[in-house]
Amino acid sequence: MSAMDLLLWSRGPGLAIAVSIFAFGVVLRLFEIYSLGRKADLAKPRVNTKACAGATVWRRMLPDMHILRRSPITYVAGYLFHFGLFVVVFLYAPHIKLIESTLGLSWPALPSALVDLVAVLTLISLVVVLVNRITDPVKRLLSGFEDYLTWAVTLLPVLTGYMAYHHLMFPYQTMLALHILSVELLLVIFPFTKLMHAITLFISRWYNGDIAARKGVQS
């Protein structure tokens, strides 16, 4: 298989398979959550909870300042890599072109040199969260194979993208194929690992906000 074949496969059948598994997995996981159901609360609520539950979904984007002071690395590195992932995925010109060609949606890109810098920061912060996970007693206790797998699978697309952009290690076509394959790996494991939090956190924050709001507390 030549580099070109690999690239063609990753762009064609590979992508189709990955997106299908991703879509099936996400729908399945949402079904697994919602099919369990929830008993109606018969206690008279203090307030209409919908607005408060919605507010909790947004409020949890921000840290509690006391907890931030107690655990700054978790927050700073955590924000950095999430923000970095957003920038490199959605504000890099070739990615926007890809989205435009498939979905017809388009928006302005950041200069590639800036995205390049953000990619480096993202990689650095990912290394920091890994070291923190290994050295911090609480995180180490909570961590298992899945945590290291999802870390690696999150890192790979950024790393291969960076290497492709800078023509490092392999010829461009090979590196680009590896980049696309790494994204496909991410899509495939996403629904079945904690990466799924990117979707389910909206559900859990909503429940949290709803439970608290019934009692008159904005959580």
């Binding site: 399945l28 996981r29 697994e32 959550i33 919602y34 369990l36 159901g37 929830r38 008993k39 609360d41 018969l42 206690a43 008279k44 203090r46 909790t56 979904v57 949890r60 840290p63 509690d64 006391h66 907890i67 107690r70 655990s71 978790t74 955590g78 911090d136 007693p137 609480v138 995180k139 180490r140 206790l141 909570l142 961590s143 945590d147 079945f192 904690k194 799924m196 939090h197 389910t200 956190l201 559900i203 859990s204 924050r205 909503w206 429940y207 949290n208 906000g209 439970i211 608290a212 019934r214 009692k215 008159g216 507390v217 904005q218 959580s219």
Partner: protein, 421 residues
């Protein structure tokens, strides 16, 4: 595998719902919940990380309620929960969690961890791994009507003493009264002056109220140990008494979990809404104050602060009322840095105070409250929960701190205008 272990596992399956599945799906193992938990911050032991306390429940969810988990279990890749593990987790679920819910306020993905610990206790209790002290309290609540074994004659004796002290008569079983007042055993035995204080306040405000000889105990060991059938029975006693007397409102006493039991869990436990309202005593007092029916004079000039009982503030929504009441009778009220919905627990809620084996850990965890009080330089600590009050007094004594603990209702009663005697 024992029959009780099977019952425990069945109870885990019984409590599994969409919120729990979404919470476990969302957890990224960031460990920030640990920083919100006084059992972790005061010991530094990672095993007290709140989400870790749920590990057996999480594995049941993962292995039985997700496709990947079920596949893993089929090919023998998963580690099933064992009876021994539940025994090990008993300390984490009962001794090192007061259901204070602070972790639920800070989790970035929004997990309500306290909600899950409450649910997990249903399985732990069914599996027979709940602590002895809590089992005893629960048995006394069912057979004697009170976790501390306080029966009606004991209450009647305390009422007579309070009547002699205040010169008022304390109403009992008054048909059609507006308010039915509940008490906690802790109040009856240790702080009976609460009853006298209520008598004085309600007399001035012209409130029609009563106690019930059939149901005066508000505390509910069932929701602490995690036995919903028992919890429902204890709530039903109150509901029968209140609906029998035809009262409009039942008043939950200065007790945290009693409010959670009767106000928030009660209707769900008995399977229907009530035909009366439930309010916390602080809500009632603040309503009376705002209506001009609770008139006070003079101010306590001591520097003092307010300790929010978790189930009344963070898990109950009664946050502003105690502050308004306190400011009306105290001139040097100082707020702790983290207060209200983000208060720190006294360390003895959620059944921990009834759990003897947890005492040593509880006193270590108290260092958090100690630090908060010391930072303010106050010599008086006001609160509104008899259980917090006992725990605070024990903690302060243990650390040789000269701080007085006062109940808010009594403090208000001391400042009543007594012109219309």
């Amino acid at each position: 595998m024992s029959a009780s272990f099977e019952r425990g596992m069945a109870a885990f399956r019984e409590v599994m719902d969409s919120p729990i599945a979404s919470f476990f799906s969302s957890c990224v193992h960031c460990g920030l919940c640990a920083e919100a938990c006084l059992f972790y911050t005061e010991t530094g032991d990672p095993k007290y990380t709140p989400i870790h306390k749920l590990d057996p429940l999480k594995r049941v969810w993962q292995q039985e309620y997700t496709l990947l988990g079920r596949l893993g279990a089929l090919v023998g890749l998963s580690k099933p929960v064992t009876e021994k593990e539940l025994e090990q987790w008993s300390e984490l679920v009962y001794d090192s969690c007061t259901l204070c819910g602070r972790c639920s306020m800070v989790c970035p993905v929004g997990n309500d961890i306290a909600y899950m610990v409450r649910k997990m206790r249903e399985g732990m209790s069914a599996a027979g791994v709940a602590p002895e002290g809590m089992i005893g309290a629960t048995q006394r609540a069912v057979t004697l009507g009170s976790p501390m074994g306080v029966k009606l004659p004991a209450l009647q004796a305390q009422i007579r003493a309070q009547e002699a002290e205040t010169g008022l008569s304390i109403p009992m079983d008054v048909q059609g009264a507006d308010y039915m007042v509940l008490l906690s055993s802790m109040e009856v035995m240790n702080f009976p002056e609460y009853i006298g204080a209520l008598g004085k306040i309600f007399r001035q405000a012209g409130v029609s109220w009563t106690l019930s000889s059939k149901a005066f105990e508000a505390t509910n060991s069932g929701i602490q140990i995690g036995a919903s059938d028992i919890a429902a029975e204890l709530v039903q006693r109150i509901v029968d008494a209140a609906e029998g007397l035809g009262v409009k409102t039942v008043i939950s006493p200065e007790c945290g979990h009693a409010f959670t039991a009767i106000r928030w869990e009660g209707p769900n436990l008995i399977g229907r809404p009530y035909r009366f309202e439930v309010k916390h005593i602080l809500e009632v007092l603040e309503e009376l104050r705002q209506a001009g029916r609770l008139r006070t004079q003079g101010c306590d000039e001591r520097p003092l602060t307010f300790h929010d009982p978790c189930q009344i503030a963070r898990r109950g929504g009664v946050i502003e009322q105690p502050r308004n009441l306190l400011k009306s009778v105290a001139s040097d009220f100082r707020e702790m840095e983290e207060h209200g919905a983000m208060n720190w627990c006294c360390g003895g809620g959620g059944g921990v105070s009834a759990n003897d084996r947890a005492e040593e850990l509880r006193l270590v965890a108290f260092k958090r409250k100690k630090g908060q009080v010391e930072a303010l330089g106050v010599d008086t600590l006001v609160t509104a929960c008899a259980n917090c009050r006992i725990i605070l007094e024990e903690g302060l004594e243990h650390y040789n701190m000269d701080v007085e603990v006062v109940g808010l209702t009594e403090l208000v009663a001391e400042h009543l205008i007594e012109d219309d005697k």
